[in-house]
Subunit: 135 residues, 2 copies
DNA sequence: CCGAGGGCGTTACTTTATAACACAAATACC
DNA sequence: GGTATTTGTGTTATAAAGTAACGCCCTCGG
């Protein structure tokens, strides 16, 4: 897994990305730091610096409502400008999807307002199917 | 100003809401705290507790990508289940709007997934018209 | 060789948010 | 009225998330 079409990650970036990919879900910066203590990580900045780059490359998304980060589910999200996330408040599961039409509508609104859009955050909170049935 | 159709605010809730309404834009919890020192506020919890209720009542929205709070622009947002925000990264201006269609599309997606939606966060970052023209 | 830029490591710090405990006021119930 | 329950409150202390500032080491293009 992980056919890297990536811009040459540095060692720290690769470690952080590995940690996030392996997690199969969102992690906070401090959780990543703890995971990487054995690899020589000592301070939050080491994590944040790597995360900044990974987000810039579209390989990692920041979940604003969770103060956490998650590996992109699409092996490189640079393609689709924006993504959306459904976050289960029961089990913590996060599904990334790409609601193109909804995003188009939002972009249309911004254009009509003369607002120059640079980043779109869409996060849905609720209960996932599994958790809803195991009521 | 402010035709109160409100669920009987307590003193602290009213103070916090007043502070936010008067600001004409988003404030962090700590900024509110500073504004209310003279009214007897001493600790963040006093602000956060009031904010929790105000958000619950739909009178205040939390801007996740800003860690800040803003008074609802529609004199009671309980009506429309979800709102969206365009946030100018230059001047900090925030416009609240209600992209019903986009929200419907998102809700449809969740329903198809069996995801029970409870809260929707839509935040658009970019440059507002005024700031974009005064390049 | 040298200078610029990028990544790195470290210390210290700021900002944002909660836990825990105790008391007061309102509400509900008999 | 008296008593339980809930809701709001004030305070101290602490946790969690994010950044500033500094100096070092590379590497790349002169
Ligand atoms: Zn993605
Ligand atoms: Zn779940
Ligand atoms: Zn609103
Ligand atoms: Zn602006």
């Amino acid at each position: 897994m992980s056919a890297e079409t990536h811009p040459e990650l540095t060692k720290n970036q690769a470690l952080v990305f590995g940690s996030l990919s392996g997690a199969g879900g969102p992690l906070t910066a401090y959780a990543i730091l703890d995971q990487l203590r054995d690899d020589g990580f000592r301070a939050p900045l080491q994590v944040y610096r790597a995360l900044d780059k990974l987000v810039e490359y579209g390989m990692v998304h920041r979940l604003e409502s969770l103060n956490a980060f998650v590996a992109c589910a699409h092996t490189g999200c640079a393609a689709h400008g924006a993504a959306a996330f459904a976050i289960c408040e029961r089990c913590g599961d996060v599904s990334e999807f790409t609601p193109e039409k909804a995003i188009d509508l939002l972009r249309n609104w911004t254009e009509q307002q003369g607002f120059r859009l640079s980043r779109t955050t869409i996060e849905l909170r609720g209960t996932c199917k599994a958790c809803a049935s195991s009521n």
